[in-house]
């Protein structure tokens, strides 16, 4: 059985955030990367103006803190709006790289070091 429903297109983006059917504000940290889906899902309901502003901002991947700063809105407000957009299937949210102090990720650290060295 290779259910066609696992083939990707029908996997709604917020299943990436842990399989819940409803996204929650806890899905967003300051450095969660949000990206507008392109194309946007066809919907009867038009997004609100502030939702549209966010969608325009995250046409390219951008961190939650950056959305808040560029819209001059508190992070707490932006997170509510982003939750709406995630629930509507209009954006994807990529969590930050996990940091586990007990088992440091040497590969990641080396990448960061190399990147800084290029500055």
């Amino acid at each position: 059985m290779t259910g066609g429903d696992t083939g990707g297109r029908l996997v709604r983006p917020f299943t990436l955030t842990g399989g819940r059917t409803r996204p929650s504000r806890a899905d967003f940290t300051l450095i969660t990367t949000v990206t507008a889906l392109d194309p946007q899902p066809a919907r009867a309901v038009r997004p609100q103006p502030e939702h549209l502003r966010i969608l325009r901002l995250c046409a390219e991947p951008v961190a939650v803190a950056e959305v808040a700063a560029r819209l001059d809105l508190p992070v707490s407000v932006v997170v509510i709006l982003l939750s709406d957009l995630l629930e509507a299937g209009r954006i994807t949210a990529r969590p930050p790289h996990p940091v586990d102090r007990a088992t440091p990720d040497l590969d990641l650290l080396q990448k960061v070091r190399d990147g800084l060295g290029r500055l």
Binding site: A65, E66, H97
Partner: protein, 203 residues
């Protein structure tokens, strides 16, 4: 290639640009030590700022006791960004200076690679609280001694002793206004993390 009935790897958002993963480093220290200056000197974008009303930040009403203008109080966060290739982005967050905003530091510290504590040698005590904060929570940090007017009256070793820092904590003389100098402080932090990882793996 095994069976033809194998499911295709689940594409996520096919037409969206691939989102990078983010990591963060905190820039801490007392008021006016040069945190925002350092963020700005290495960031690829002009430093950004968010203002969070205290009530929205989830503070107990009791915690607001003693804060004069409760309704208007906001916590400002400065931050900048350094792209590490296409898949990884490093964010730098300047921590809010005032100690009453420490609840914000806790949130900020979650998931951080580590921290830079900036020290102004003319008033090192303004950074003691930041050093204590990271030490107590076991969050790795380096100390950057920001030489105002480019002056470094004390060698790094003397400052380490004065701050009672353990041997593995690097102390660097720096100039937060200089990109290369700020970059070197960040590299020192990463090197310290790599050293710690290597010695943990060896033992």
């Amino acid at each position: 290639m095994a069976g033809s009935d194998r499911a295709a790897p689940a594409p996520t958002a096919p037409a969206s640009p691939a989102a990078p993963e983010a990591v963060k480093i905190l820039i801490a220290g007392g008021f006016g030590v040069g945190k925002t200056t350092m963020v700005g000197s290495v960031s690829e974008i002009a430093p950004l700022r968010t203002e969070e009303p205290l009530t929205a930040a989830g503070l107990d009403v009791d915690d607001l006791a003693g804060i004069e203008e409760k309704r208007d109080t906001t916590v400002a966060l400065d931050f900048g960004r350094i792209s590490i290739g296409r898949e990884l982005v490093l964010y730098l967050f300047g921590t809010p200076g005032q100690q009453r905003f420490w609840f914000m530091w806790n949130d900020l510290a979650i998931g951080a690679l580590g921290a830079v504590v900036l020290v102004d040698v003319r008033r090192p005590e303004s950074s003691f609280a930041a050093i204590d904060f990271f030490e107590r929570r076991g969050i790795p940090f380096v100390v950057g001694v920001n030489g105002f007017h480019g002056r470094h009256p004390y060698p790094a070793e003397e400052i380490r002793e004065a701050l009672a820092l353990p041997e593995h904590v690097k102390v660097l003389l720096c100039d937060a206004r200089e990109r290369a100098s700020s970059r070197d402080v960040l590299i020192a932090l990463i090197d310290q993390l790599i050293d710690a990882a290597a010695s943990a793996a060896a033992s």
